[in-house]
């Protein structure tokens, strides 16, 4: 194992919210400059929202942060550690968790099982010990159930505990997804359009939910979102992108006042930004259109 020695006190460094810095990221897809010199920082505990019109490079940026797309320029640092050499599947181990836009979960598993699965990954028990129900296997299972019970209570999923995920509405499924994120104990959480595919009324209910998630999980959050009012309501920092570049970056009050940001987002007028939404935002998400395609 070649964990960088430079980071102070390795085990201690892996708790608490992480500091993400994105430095001069750039990538070109077949002659199209998808992301061009994008830099921003997410301080520990911050909620950073990436907004911008379709094709402005938000999701590509997120893909590069989570390692699904290799950047051609620049780098991503987590607590100062260069992540260039980390494979996507290695990133969860240093606390980076990404939720997927489609939120399929596991259709046949009950909510309880989905959440227990997150605990399984953290504390693996050998099959033989499980089969023979050895004391440590029993203890481990009991602990997992206790942890899951807490999360189920915290997210109000009590009555869905034994329902299969296939039976749940998209909104409820997203709540389950968020609950599993809490169990995964991320230090940096990447959310890709958490309100995609759910109704406006549900999306509004997401604001307190995400806030609570942020509190419980004690994590830094970077989210990509089309729902502009949601982003301004929730985030401590907003990054506006246009054609692969960052055009505005700062606290929501500042960005809200920035004319370039307004122009960048759908050429939106003030009312589209300030109106608390149903009409302004529903155009970007046709009902039932579902999640968009990922490359």
């Amino acid at each position: 194992m070649s964990t960088p020695v430079s980071t102070p006190a390795a085990p201690g460094a892996l708790t608490g919210p992480a500091r993400l810095s994105v430095e001069h990221l750039g990538v070109t897809f077949g002659g199209v400059r998808a992301v061009d010199d994008v830099s921003f920082t997410a301080e520990p505990g911050a909620i950073v929202g990436l907004i911008g019109a379709n094709g402005s490079g938000k999701t590509t940026t997120l893909d590069m942060v989570s390692g699904l797309v290799a950047p051609q320029q620049g780098m991503v640092r987590l607590d100062g550690r260069d992540l260039t050499e980390y494979l996507p599947e290695e990133r969860p181990r240093i606390g980076m968790v990404r939720s997927f836009q489609d939120c399929r979960l596991y259709p046949e598993l009950s909510v309880l099982d989905v959440l227990l699965l997150c605990e399984d990954v953290k504390h693996e028990v050998a099959v033989l010990s499980t089969t023979l129900q050895l004391p440590w296997a029993r203890r481990s299972e009991k602990r997992k159930r206790a942890a899951v019970d807490q999360v189920i209570g915290g997210f109000g999923l009590e009555r869905f505990r034994h329902h299969r995920t296939a039976e749940l509405s998209t909104g409820t499924r997203r709540v389950v997804d968020l609950a599993s994120i809490v169990l995964a104990q991320p230090r940096l959480l990447l959310l890709d359009e958490p309100t995609a595919g759910i109704a406006q009324r549900e999306a509004e209910a997401f604001i307190p939910l995400l806030r609570r998630l942020h509190q419980i999980a004690d994590t830094t959050i970077v989210l990509v979102e089309h729902d502009v009012p949601l982003v301004f309501e929730l985030c401590t920092r907003v990054v506006v992108m246009e054609l692969g570049r960052v055009v505005a970056d700062g606290p929501p009050e500042v960005v809200r006042a920035d004319p370039r940001a307004l122009a960048a987002y759908l050429g939106a007028s003030d009312e589209a930004l300030l109106a608390s939404g149903p009409t302004g935002t529903s155009t970007t998400r046709a009902p039932g259109s579902g999640p968009g395609r990922r490359p």
């Binding site: 969860p92 979960l105 009950s110 699965l117 997150c118 409820t172 759910i198 109704a199 307190p208």
Partner: protein
């Protein structure tokens, strides 16, 4: 090394039988392309035509060509009828449809025996219209072979024309690319699908009629796993998409088979080569096969009864537990009341239930379709046959399980890269390889090295094996062995329940339902898949050892690959993924034949028809029925309790609430948020 000879007449013989495989493979591909169904009844449709042809020519003295047209029309009609029966399943999980076609093939076999199809003289060979022969080298080619050479290419060309130039061909191709788009742009997909099955039925008839004259009786041509395997292999070479490649590959498989027969004297080595060819074909074509199977199909399992139902209600739970105790008590007492013969059957049912449970883990939970489970059972039985007396019984059972687990993991290796459905083909190849290659060869000389391994049955025709004692207790009487088998079953049920409730099943199901998501979450996907094979193999292995001790005398015929079909039928009849269901399925398919006598026709009909009926009308299977029964009992008990505490709106009202409330309608959109 060996000199490999390929004389012309061997090649030509290979081409002749290969033409038959090719036509069958084309039928398989046609149906797979249109409906994404792996049709195991494809061969059986044609057999009806072959038998009917004998009936018409021998009993009714019809002119050959007229009779031929009539019988092919019959097969086409049967094909269309099959489509109409199976149609309602096309949106269901693929494995259910596949098992339904196994059931269908058994029903078709029973149809073959109907008086208006079956000829009076069963041993009359299928006729040939002319008497032309020719010779190549020393071999004389029979009129039947000449007929094949003449007819099969014509049929293939006609089909190629139909696919390319008729409106059916066009709509069929459109459907195979994207059924939904095709439908939206006005393609009448139902009619296209029915037509496809009609064409496939006719193709199957050609295969059966052309291949049949070689056989002594048309009726011996039952669903032969070998024939099916060859056709499936050819279809897989065509990636289940390309008709031309599949047809040519069919010829290739025939030539390969004849060459192996000519060059390799040992059956074991022939079978080994065939098995390896199937594996290589699959691994080489895996990318094309993956591309061909649509994403949505891989995880449509919503009709399984995998996860435990919400038994939050304590009374419902008590009903289940009492039910289990009652069943257990009955099972313990029953051997006292049974005759020797019935106790023997009792032990068999218990052991088959264990085998069914092993498939519940593998197919029901992990989604890997195995048609070779009985091959794994054979491995366990072999261990018992070789080491039966050297170890104490419990150690031997564990050892048999361990050996079989290793074999199962190796057999499962292709599953790491392949959609679960196609595993059916490699596992079928494995079962055939086990029976005809390993079991039938007492001692096998490794080619090239010259070392001899004695791994097969000591006496393939009839191997005797003594029952060992269980830690000093004699198991010689059928009654004591029945109790022993029950003990093995109960332990297995306990183990499987622990896996289901305490963390193993959820991992297997997660990987089955969403491989990418599970991997992103940090679940080791490859290890989890192999775990399923290991666990399943372990159970099949010790069950195999028990089966060997139960029968005390067995031969290669004991391990016929078709029994694997019956095992998977048990699991489906019981309800995929359900533990109680697997036991009930074993009881149904092993116990019912005892009630109806040993008549094979009734046995096949019961299982085939039963299977179809269950899949069509009760996707949850017997396990679902049992669950509903438990619900009813619970409501009854509630009502009784309520009568005692009248005037109190408590339990009954609550029960009704629990039972009737539908979460789908009243679900708050984002729970928990509203309150805060």
């Amino acid at each position: 090394m060996l000199a490999f000879a390929a004389p012309n007449f061997v090649l030509l013989q290979g081409v002749i039988i290969g033409l038959g495989y090719g036509l069958l493979a084309v039928g398989l591909v046609l149906i797979y392309r249109t409906n994404r169904v792996l049709n195991f009844a494809q061969g059986q449709v044609g057999v009806i035509a072959a038998v009917f042809l004998v009936k018409l020519t021998a009993d009714f003295k019809f002119e050959y060509w007229f009779a031929l047209v009539l019988s092919i029309a019959l097969a086409a009609a049967v094909g269309a009828l099959s489509e109409l029966v199976l149609r309602r399943l096309f949106s269901r999980p693929r494995v259910l449809v596949m098992v339904a076609t196994i059931g269908l093939s058994q029903v078709l076999l029973a149809l073959t025996a109907l008086p208006f199809i079956r000829p009076h003289n069963l041993y009359k060979p299928v006729p040939v219209p002319f008497d032309i022969t020719f010779s190549l080298g020393t071999t004389i080619f029979t009129p039947a072979e000449v007929l094949t050479l003449m007819v099969a290419p014509v049929v293939a060309l006609a089909l190629a024309f139909a696919v390319r130039s008729t409106s059916w061909g066009l709509t069929m191709r459109a459907m195979s690319e994207n059924a939904d788009s095709a439908r939206l742009s006005g393609v009448w997909i139902r009619r296209t699908s029915t037509l496809t099955w009609t064409v496939a039925g006719a193709l199957s008839a050609f295969t059966a009629i052309l291949n049949a004259p070689g056989q002594t009786s048309a009726l011996t041509e039952v669903l032969s796993p070998d024939l099916l395997l060859f056709a499936l292999t050819a279809a897989l070479v065509g990636a289940m998409i390309n008709l031309t490649v599949a047809f040519v590959a069919g010829i290739g498989v025939g030539v390969l088979y004849e060459l192996l027969q000519w060059n390799i004297s040992s059956t074991a080595n022939q079978e080994l080569v065939l098995f390896l060819v199937v594996l290589v074909v699959l691994l080489v074509r895996v990318r094309a096969l993956r591309k061909g199977s649509r994403v949505g199909e891989r995880s449509t399992w919503q009709y399984g009864a995998t996860t435990a139902r919400a038994t939050v209600d304590s009374l419902r739970q008590r009903v289940s537990v009492s039910g289990m105790w009652l069943a257990g008590l009955g099972a313990v007492v029953l051997p006292l009341l049974l005759s020797v013969g019935n106790n023997y059957l009792y032990a068999q049912v218990c052991i088959y239930a264990v085998i069914a449970l092993s498939l519940t883990v593998l197919t029901g939970w992990a989604g890997q379709v195995s048609l070779g489970q009985f091959g794994l059972v054979a491995v366990g039985a072999l261990v018992a046959a070789h080491l039966g007396s050297t170890f104490p019984l419990p150690v031997l059972l564990l050892f048999a399980g361990a050996v079989t687990a290793v074999v199962a993991v190796i057999v499962g290796l292709p599953a790491l890269r392949m959609p679960g459905l196609f595993l059916a083909v490699t596992t079928l190849a494995f079962a055939i390889f086990m029976q005809e290659g390993v079991l039938a060869t007492p001692c096998w000389t490794v080619p090239g090295i010259g070392k001899t391994l004695c791994t097969g049955l000591p006496n393939p025709a009839s191997t005797l094996i003594g029952r060992p004692d269980l830690l000093g207790l004699s198991l010689q009487s059928e009654r004591s062995f029945a109790w022993f088998s029950l003990g093995v079953l109960v332990l297995s049920i306990f183990a499987v329940r622990v896996w289901r409730d305490k963390g193993v099943a959820r991992r297997l199901v997660a990987v089955r339902d969403n491989e990418l998501g599970a991997a992103a979450m940090g679940i080791p996907v490859l290890r989890t898949k192999l775990l399923a094979f290991g666990l399943s193999g372990f159970m099949a292995g010790y069950a195999g050892a028990c089966l060997a001790f139960a029968t005390e005398r067995f031969s290669t015929a004991t391990f016929d690959p078709t029994i694997s079909f019956i095992i998977i039928s048990m699991v489906v009849i019981g309800g995929l993924g359900s533990i109680a269901g697997a036991v009930l399925g074993a009881l149904y398919l092993e116990g019912l034949p005892a009630l109806f006598g040993a008549n094979p026709t009734i046995q096949f009909l019961t299982s085939g028809l039963g299977l179809l009926a269950f899949i069509l009308y009760l996707p949850g299977g017997l396990g679902e029925l049992l669950h509903r029964f438990g619900d009813m009992v619970t409501l009854g008990v509630r009502a009784l309790q309520d009568r005692h505490s009248a005037g109190h709106p408590g339990p009954l009202a609550e029960a009704c609430e629990d039972g009737k409330e539908s979460f789908r309608n009243s679900e708050p959109l984002v729970p928990g948020v509203v309150e805060s």
